[in-house]
Amino acid sequence: MLPPAARLAARRLLGLATSSASESAAARRLSRSPISYAAAGCSSRLFSTALNYHLDSPENNPDMPWEFTEANMKKVNEILSHYPSNYKQSGIIPMLDLAQQQHGGWVPVAAMNAIAKIVEVAPIRVYEVATFYTMFNRTKVGKYHLLVCGTTPCMIRGSREIEEALLEHLGVKRNEVTSDGLFSVGEMECMGCCVNAPMIAVADYSKGSEGYTYNYYEDLTPKRVVEIVEMLKRGETPPRGTQHPERKNCGPAGGNTTLHADMRRQW
């Protein structure tokens, strides 16, 4: 077991157990002290990753049996066939991705151990990879994992409002799963959609690794993002890509205004 300090830190980082009331009280107390800026900086300091260590729980512990399904085992062999037999560890990332799809959007420590066995490395080498990449969730997520881009272009275009709207609508905190287990909201860094900022990515784990999709929803407004969530809740598939009614892909609203002519003739 980890020491109590570790548990406390864990809870803080996940933002789970500390009630908002006590938090704001603490903030008020601190604001009187001269280091309030620093303290505010601390509490608002965001970590892109979750905890860097594992906490045993009934649903996530090393003693849990875990293996790839038969269908996924074929994919594993396919992944391994891409690499020389003495560089099996190159397959860690695709295998973690596969394990995440199979396990409903997150990788338990037992799955990492299983992968370590397949690629014949020490488990810690898989843990290192899994903790490095923020796309690997090491705690439970919803069936639809909503990832709000928080990088500068999206932030300028209002990604914070998007996230607030999502959190408020779903009644959860960041990285928390809704009570029906359907949704969770996370943050990620730039996905290269800046031209259609702000955007979210929706990882759909509801249909296992066979029906797994990872769709972008772009040009969002707080209102539209709630609509998308509602559609997902009803089991519909909202149209992916830009949500701006007048835009097509990354083109301007109302159609192209320049470069109509055939480029070859210009030259």
Binding site: A9, Y53, T131
Partner: protein, 747 residues
């Protein structure tokens, strides 16, 4: 001291120190400056000659010697701060600077570990390079013009230092690394006088790595030395770098203790106070300690150590560089057994009264009692047993004394019923520990080097990692931290190999430098003569012993064993002890005390109240290895001295002095009164024991041995060392070792 002394140690095998620097010199080397050759750049300029064309060659860092390859094409010339230096091909820029006498600051670089290049502290300017270059990871190219003292290089280091200190806590006053901290030293020498970081520092949860290593992970600067040490040298893949960016931390992810017999070394390689010694925590400051350069006696390797003491107390033990024996590592047993030196000690001579209780007496009374008993027993009933920690001087005195009393029953524990003392090559590691690196096939017979001699095991692992050498093992299933082939558990497998029937023969046949290592546990077997003759057959068959290569080895278990065999302490223990009426145990605790006749008079001369004290009639307190000058011969036949670091406890005396005094009281005075007198006597019996730090090759080959008629038995080999952490009186008295046995050994 840490930075400069480590810089000396960091020198690669090419850069060997001439000799371990004496403490005074090392202390004077504490001055750190960007230019190691002179205190300040101005001073460096002042001593520079008037002729700018040919500046004089500078001395390498730490007086290291550079071995240039014999082929001149394999050497190249670079310029460091304008000074031309010749270096072997494949050196990095950092090594080239070291050869030129410029000490480059570094955190992540360690010459015995792989190059990570992630601390960026070693940035230097290289002409025609657009950016400063991380010198530890950059290979030196011919004609490269390296500048270590330019504004660019200085500013780069300052910037790196500012980033490193950004998240580093300001708890130096309560940090155990304070005073020997690389970060502290280098920020003084290379850092800026202020930082610009005003946010909150980050904090990291501490990890529990077991009873030996204390972690304060907030101090960690992510140099990954410990991760690389664990996976490369120690061979335990437990530590890793978790997370990314500012959340990055060293850890095990799942709760796991570091179960390596070398784990204590991460304390030394950690450049900051993130990994420190748990038993030493808050006990002393390093500048209060007196360092004594001595050797370790807890196993037969004779690792070079520095005993740090404060007043009469040993505070800690740290390794000393010796490329030929322990490189710069030591095992956890060596490092942490020191608290055993303070517990269970025998202070006064004691006599067991009629009520069975010990009573403290004066030396005069104790010796008189022993001498009186000696007069009453027949000479052939006298037996002397030397313990596993005995030094050569006391064993010499014990042998001379027992012989003078008219008995030849004097032996050393652990050497078995018929010690193979006739030929030195039959009980030594003839390849030498450093020589193992040239081997390509290892055959381990009845030995588990990981627990018997952790440093030898580290050397084998190094070889296996570097050259993919194959390791085959005959013995009970055991833990290895490298790939090995388990051929079998008993002598039959060995016979099969000797007769060429085993599939492993083809591997041995194709080996260039095969090595056979037989464990000293075989000495205790009834069929040891037959076993060793079988091993010699294997050696002959596969050309293991050649004029240019001797791969036939015995790995001894105890510090006293080799010297005892050299000095001829070779009586048969079972017979001698069964028939004895006067048993003189000189620190011998592992003799079979049940076999001692009830009416025998047992004298226990030793430093710890261990097993044998329960049977003793008289106790004569002696000094431990940290308190006396003694000669020890390690498993490869290298003679080394211990140096007294602390005074003895109570009324204890050196072993040989007690025997000398007793001999006088008993009327058979030994003819030496001083340490040099004993050593003169030793030089008559075994001259190699007075040639310190030398290995004398065995001149007589094993072919002169008479043929053996014995048959090998089918009994499988046994595990010799059951508990790595507790093997002798000192380690059995140690609390830390008891904790280790409780938590780290596999149940």
């Amino acid at each position: 001291m840490a930075f400069f002394a480590r810089a000396i140690r960091h020198s690669s095998p090419y850069l060997r120190s001439r000799a371990p620097p004496p403490p005074a010199v090392a202390a004077s080397c504490r001055w750190i400056s960007p230019t190691a050759a002179a205190g300040s750049p101005e001073a460096g300029a002042a001593v520079a000659p008037a002729d700018p064309e040919t500046p004089p060659p500078r001395e390498p860092v730490g007086g290291a010697r550079v071995e240039l390859p014999s082929n001149p094409e394999d050497a190249l010339e670079v310029f460091v701060d304008g000074h031309a230096v010749r270096i072997p091909k494949g050196f990095t820029v950092l090594q080239a600077c070291e050869v030129a006498g410029v000490d480059i600051p570094r955190f992540c670089y360690h010459s015995r570990l792989s190059i990570a290049g992630n601390c960026r502290m070693c940035l230097v300017e290289v002409e025609k390079s657009p950016k400063p270059v991380a010198s530890c990871a950059m290979p030196a190219l011919p004609g490269m013009k390296i500048k270590t003292n330019t504004p660019v290089a200085k500013k780069a280091r300052e910037g790196v230092m500012e980033f490193l200190l950004m998240n580093h806590p300001l708890d130096c006053p309560i940090c155990d690394q304070g005073g020997e901290c690389d970060l502290q030293d280098q920020s003084m020498a290379f850092g800026a006088d202020r930082g610009r970081f005003t946010e909150m520092k980050r904090s990291v949860v501490d990890k529990n790595l077991g009873p030996l290593v204390k972690t304060v992970m907030t101090r960690c600067i992510q140099c990954t030395r410990c991760v690389r040490f664990a996976s490369e040298v120690a061979g335990v893949q437990d530590l890793g770098m978790l997370g990314r960016g500012s959340g990055e931390e060293i850890g095990t992810y799942v709760e796991k203790l570091m179960t390596s017999e070398l784990s204590g070394n991460v304390i030394d390689i950690c450049p900051v106070g993130a990994l420190t010694s748990k038993p030493f925590a808050f006990k002393a400051r390093n500048w209060e300690l007196k360092g004594t350069e001595t050797i370790d006696v807890t196993d037969a390797v004779g690792s070079n150590i520095r005993v740090d003491s404060r007043g009469p107390e040993v505070m800690r033990i740290v390794p000393r560089l010796n490329e030929d024996i322990n490189e710069e590592w030591i095992s956890d047993k060596t490092r942490f057994c020191y608290d055993g030196l303070k517990r269970q000690r025998l202070n006064d001579p004691m006599i067991r009264g009629t009520d069975g209780r010990f009573k403290a007496v004066t030396w005069r009374d104790a010796l008189a009692v022993v001498a009186e008993v000696l007069q009453q027993v027949k000479p052939e009933e006298i037996t002397g047993v030397a313990g596993k920690l005995s030094d050569a001087e006391s064993m010499m005195a014990l042998k001379d004394f027992v012989n003078k009393m008219g008995s030849d029953k004097v032996l050393c524990e652990g050497n078995g019923p018929s010690p193979p003392a006739d030929l030195r090559s039959n009980y030594l590691m003839n390849t030498s520990i450093a020589g193992l690196e040239k081997a390509d096939v290892f055959l381990l017979v009845g030995t588990q080097p990981r627990v018997e001699a952790a440093m030898v095991n580290a050397r084998i692992r190094k070889t296996v990692r570097a050259t993919q050498a194959k390791v085959a093992y005959i013995g009970p299933p055991t833990d290895f931290n490298y790939d090995h082939e388990h051929l079998g558990t008993g002598p039959q497998t060995l016979v099969e190999i000797a007769e060429g029937r085993h599939p492993f023969c083809s591997t041995l046949q194709s080996a260039k430098n095969p090595v056979i290592i037989a464990g000293a546990g075989l000495f205790d077997r009834e069929d040891q003569d037959a076993l060793f003759s079988t091993i010699e057959t294997v050696a002959k068959k596969f050309n293991v012993v050649r004029p240019d290569w001797n791969g036939l080895n015995v790995l001894l278990l105890h510090a006293a064993q080799a010297a005892a065999l050299d000095l001829g302490l070779v009586a048969n223990p079972t017979e001698s002890i069964k028939s004895t009426k006067f048993l003189y145990l000189m620190g011998a605790d592992d003799v079979d005390l049940d076999k001692v006749p009830d009416d025998a008079f047992v004298v226990y001369q030793g430093h710890h109240g261990d097993k044998a004290v329960y049977r003793a009639n008289v106790i004569l307190p002696s000094s431990a290895f940290s308190e006396k000058e003694g000669t020890y011969e390690n498993t490869e036949g290298c003679t080394q001295w211990t140096i007294p670091a602390v005074p003895t406890v109570g009324d204890a005396r050196d072993d040989w002095k007690i025997l000398r005094a007793l001999s006088e009281v008993a009327g058979a005075q030994l003819p030496y009164d001083s340490l040099s007198g004993v050593r003169d006597r030793i030089s008559m019996v075994a001259p190699n024991l007075v040639h310190v730090d030398e290995r004398e090759p065995c001149t007589i080959s094993s072919e002169v041995k008479p043929p053996v008629k014995q048959q090998v038995s089918s009994t499988p080999f046994k595990t010799v060392v059951e508990n790595f952490y507790m093997t002798d009186a000192i380690t059995r008295a140690s609390k830390i070792m008891a904790q280790c046995s409780a938590t780290l050994l596999k149940k």
